[in-house]
Amino acid sequence: MTGNARPQPDMVNAPMTNALSRLLETRDWLMADGATGTNLFNMGLGAGDPPELWNVDHPDRIKTLYGYAVNAGSDIFLTNTFGGNASRLKLHDAQSRVRELNRVGAELGREVADAAGRTVVVAGSVGPTGDIFAPMGPMTHELAVEIFHEQAEGLKEGGADVLWLETISAPEEYKAAAAAFALADMPWCGTMSFDTAGRTMMGVTSAQMVEMVESLPNPPLAYGANCGVGASDLLRTVLGFAAAGSERPIISKGNAGIPKYHDGHIHYDGTPELMAEYAVLARDCGATIIGGCCGTMPEHLEAMHEALTTRPRGPRPTLDEVTTKLGGFSSASDGTGEDDGPKRERRGRRTRG
């Protein structure tokens, strides 16, 4: 197993000074939170409005959102700062407010977590810049590091325990965020979104992500997958992580089913029962940190917490068992294992002068 030979970076050997590391020392599973956007829309957020502005404009609603997760038993919740980087806020002409919006988002989290009466981790959410990297797009490593660093400092200032990178597609972006978090001297977690034939939009497989994560100079405390297509696909990705052999804790944050349209409204078709099943299976697949993503409401989290607390661990499920319990995959292969996906038969590559 090549994963056993991974470098032992300083952070791993450093004293466990953050709340997440301490929880990981004593617990063999942790529950993260559910949806941010879906919940905020239910509270009246307008389509296309940046949720991050609510940290300042409607702090009570944001504390209510954080409270949903804490009350449902979550050990970790993510701050309302997903789109709080300069590149995204610029679309709303709020790029000058990066530091403030992230700081306040984390401060509100700190208040809620500190009042919980148990250890609850405030994870400073960091989402993608939304830009494609050079040479095909405008984003560069240097610029991305600068953008993520600014956000990281705001979250740190507000008291986030860890930073939490999520919904990333491009390995370049993941690496840039890691570099920025090193500059901010913050422990972090980072998940990618595997939504295209079992890979990220940019073609990264679960195995490739593990390789990338283990090669970072400041690897995350935990890594994994969030969002994506459905619960089945997400667990196939988690199984892919586990098969790659790294001992690093795995994060599984899947959507509550698939969005459906009814009479002008959208709702996710995953029931609390299905998400409870997903949570237990995610743990059996090898995930340590388990939560939801889009469509995961308080009632889903409660069902997940109940299941994780009361149901025993089982053996690692096969792909067939995953599909039997949660439904079929969106693609035949996810690009890992012996069948590493379809390929085009092409004439031999010719070189040219």
């Binding site: 296309g48 349209y261 959208i266 085009r344 010719r350 002068g353």
Partner: protein
């Protein structure tokens, strides 16, 4: 560089050069595509045939492999960029020679939606397939779409949404078109991560397109149908 297997593009016969161009597109080699387009022009090829055979033909393969999960976004962007290099040479010549148009599309993300990677991919793939694309960018309300439809007179209206909360706005646009009696003047295609076929039907679009490759195939078949109807009416 001095490998004896090196290919001199200008020494390939037409058939081999076309095959090579399709491979070069697949590999995103812009300079080679530009050189090959020039060679075919010098050999007296009609600009329209260069567009349709090696270029659109090559991009069709790229699109299929993208759809099938063999190629991913980075490779597709490179291929589209190579295609764009060839198109830049051909475009003025196509206009000059009065070559038939593939069709024209107006595209943009709907009001409230600022997520544009998917929309950009569709634009690039549509251009790669020879369509003329007018990109309205992000956050378009009904008025913006109507104004563009009026001035650009496209065959196709493309709308994109990434958020479950902005998806319903597509219906607002389609309903407005219907009220004004304009709905049947355009092929309306919709796309975006949270959408599905059922949604496309529910809001009255002509089709939901799962990804950029499907968008191109769907656009081609609808435009062909429209042209056939035109002939039948005439």
């Amino acid at each position: 560089m001095s490998d004896e297997e090196d290919i001199i593009l200008s020494e390939l016969n037409d058939e081999d050069l076309v095959a090579q161009m399709m491979d070069d597109l697949y590999d995103g080699m812009k300079e080679e595509i530009e050189e090959s387009v020039q060679i075919l022009l010098e050999r007296g090829w009609e600009p329209y045939n260069i567009l349709t055979e090696p270029l659109v033909g090559g991009m069709t393969i790229v699109g299929k492999d993208f759809r099938d999960g063999i190629l991913f976004v980075p490779e597709v962007l490179l291929a589209a960029n190579a295609m764009k290099g060839g198109m830049a040479i051909l475009k003025p010549l196509l206009v000059e020679t009065g070559a038939p148009r593939m069709g024209k599309m107006v595209i943009g993300t709907v009001k409230g939606d600022i997520h544009d990677i998917g929309k950009n991919l569709v634009s690039m793939m549509m251009e790669g397939a020879g369509f003329e694309v007018v990109d309205l960018g992000i956050n378009n309300d009904v008025e913006a779409y109507l104004a563009a439809l009026g001035t650009e007179e496209p065959d196709i209206l493309g709308m994109s949404a990434l958020l479950t909360t902005t998806m319903p706005y597509m219906k607002v646009v389609i309903d407005t078109l219907a009220e004004k009696g304009l709905r049947d003047d355009y092929i309306v295609l919709v796309g975006g991560a949270p959408l599905n076929e059922e949604f496309g039907k529910a809001i009255g679009a002509d089709a939901y397109c799962r990804d950029a490759a499907v968008a191109v195939e769907t656009a081609k078949s609808f435009v062909a149908r429209k042209h056939n109807q035109g002939v039948a009416k005439a």
